[in-house]
Amino acid sequence: MSAVITASGLSKRYKSSLALDNVSFQIAPGRIVGLIGPNGAGKTTALKAILGLTDFTGELNVLGFDPRKQRDKLMGEVCFIADVAVLPRWIRVHEVVDFVANVHPRFDRKKCEAFLARTKLTPGQRVRQMSKGMIVQLHLALVMAIDAKLLILDEPTLGLDILYRKQFYQNLLEDYFDENKTIIVTTHQVEEVEHILTDLMFIRDGRIVLDADMDAIGERFIEVMVNADKADAARALKPIDERQVFGKSIFLFDGVERAQLEALGETRRPSVSDLFVATMKGTYT
């Protein structure tokens, strides 16, 4: 099957800075891609370009559409949740459901109402009377009832408590995701999404610094816990990161033979957050 998104040579300049610097990537259907980067790295700009919310230079094809020219058609196939507080504050639950049901051809009202029935939301409630967690429940109920090919989540769980955050991703996996859908998610709470991601993209200073699926990452990056006596031998293999835990050193290697590392100590797959910290070293300095 052909790619959901194909980008080549994507650039976007704001007045003073380059938000996207000649970025190229492809995203295949049926994937859950984590787009992860420090603040101001260009994540949101990349998503905005995909959604047709901003102008840019370069080639971008999303589900066969050019987001610059065919934004309204594209939105029939794409859904997005841009952080929590973007539902209009004056609208009531039944109004927003009515509205989306009548303007979105792929919206399944029954499905939405079933999702809403599982929450404490009432039809007459206004968004301004809801907590952040409830707003995101409403937004998620709307989005999950739309049979879209691509779902884009930009910091969807920002400011939510852990119960809502867990529930959010659980609902998404259990009731929404299947092999015909693609999800792109940006978040700073990497630990919460790393077990659901199939692909990982790191972005830094407008450039993609890592773009691989999780299996490839498990092959390429290896973390080894090394006793003090073998630490120097480990350092000789040029680890990309080193930290101390309980008198042992933990080294992170990029593209070193697994057999070679197993001789040094216990190997394991690094967590996405450790990988992120190692990759982004020096970003703010």
Partner: protein
């Protein structure tokens, strides 16, 4: 078409208070004031011991000449028009601030990201808002004015009949009430086109301004008016500043005022065919209510150029709505 209907409905949900309740409440207040003044009049009359009993209205009308009958008719017209004038002022405020906020408020609170996540074009979104400003809100306001006016008339007729005068016949035999109602409804299309420059200008500011759209919307036309006046005072070039204030600044800011074309028309006519006759009250009323007289404004250049400028500014608003990227 269905999308457009729902977009308009969406606007109505959001602005129910100003579109629907503001004119209804204004009308209600007028009714209450009328009732209060009638009661006051009754109380004073009974205290002073005056009794006006048994006036035979038929006898009066029979003795009234055509002129006098006309005067009574005009008085009835005024009582229908009066609520219209007050509700018209409310409408002006409502539409003015609605347009200013229409493409700005959702950028400020970032809910634009939700609206833009739906398969709706920016063109339809902007046009639905322009439709609400030029058709929906005025139509509701006019209906509220007419209903209030008729209720006031009925109230007056009831009071009169308490004193034995039969105003009912007057109400239903004279063509005035229906004539006024029909005239007010019939100017809606005229209002739509007349209001375009202001609606276009305010919505353009609303779509373009990164902050404080009200200030920009005011400063640019007023500032340019001041510059023109200054040049004029300096005698640098001969641009008619009165013309500029009236036809550029005024049209950009105040065209959403209902019946804004009427003063200009009378000014024109005072100088031409009517002579000072146009200052006669009857003539003014007849003119305000006369369809062909109202629609004569269509042919005037300030009407046509204003409409074209309004359409161009709406197109600009659509463009900014599409590409403004600050949320």
């Amino acid at each position: 078409m269905k999308n457009f209907y729902w977009l308009v409905k969406r606007e109505f949900w959001e602005h129910r208070g100003s579109f629907l309740w503001a004119p209804i409440i204004t009308g209600g207040v007028m009714l209450v004031l009328t009732l209060m003044s009638i009661i006051t009049a009754e109380v004073f009359r009974s205290r002073s011991g005056m009794h006006v009993n048994g006036i035979d209205f038929n006898a009066i009308t029979a003795h009234m000449g055509a002129d006098a009958l006309n005067t009574v008719g005009s008085a009835l017209d005024i009582s229908i028009l009066a609520p219209g004038i007050l509700i018209g002022m409310v409408l002006f405020v409502v539409v003015f601030f609605y347009c200013l906020g229409s493409l700005y408020d959702d950028r400020r609170d970032r809910s634009i990201l939700f609206w833009k996540s739906l398969p709706l074009s920016d063109r339809d979104t902007v046009l639905s808002k322009a439709f609400c400003a030029t058709v929906l809100a005025p139509a509701i306001a006019i209906i509220a004015s007419v209903v209030t006016g008729l209720l006031i008339l009925i109230l007056m007729a009831l009071t009169a009949s308490l004193h034995g005068a039969n105003l009912w016949q007057m109400l239903w035999t004279l063509p005035h009430p229906f004539h006024v109602t029909a005239a007010m409804l019939s100017v809606i299309p005229l209002y739509v086109v007349w209001a375009l420059p202001t609606v276009g200008w305010l919505m353009l500011c609303s779509a373009w301004a990164r902050n404080k759209p009200f200030l920009w919307a005011l400063i640019i036309p007023v500032g340019s008016g001041i510059v023109v006046t200054w040049f004029n005072l300096m005698g640098l070039f001969d641009l008619d500043n009165k013309w500029f204030w009236g036809n550029v600044v005024g049209r950009a800011l105040f065209s959403v005022f209902p019946g804004g074309w009427i003063p200009g028309q009378f000014a024109n006519e005072a100088g031409s065919k009517f002579g000072h006759a146009a200052t006669d009250n009857h003539q003014i009323f007849a003119g305000m209510l006369d369809l062909s007289h109202n629609y004569a404004v269509i042919a005037s250049p300030q009407f046509l150029i204003g409409a074209a400028a309004g359409v161009a500014m709406l197109a600009g608003a659509i463009w900014f709505r599409r590409w403004r990227d600050d949320s």
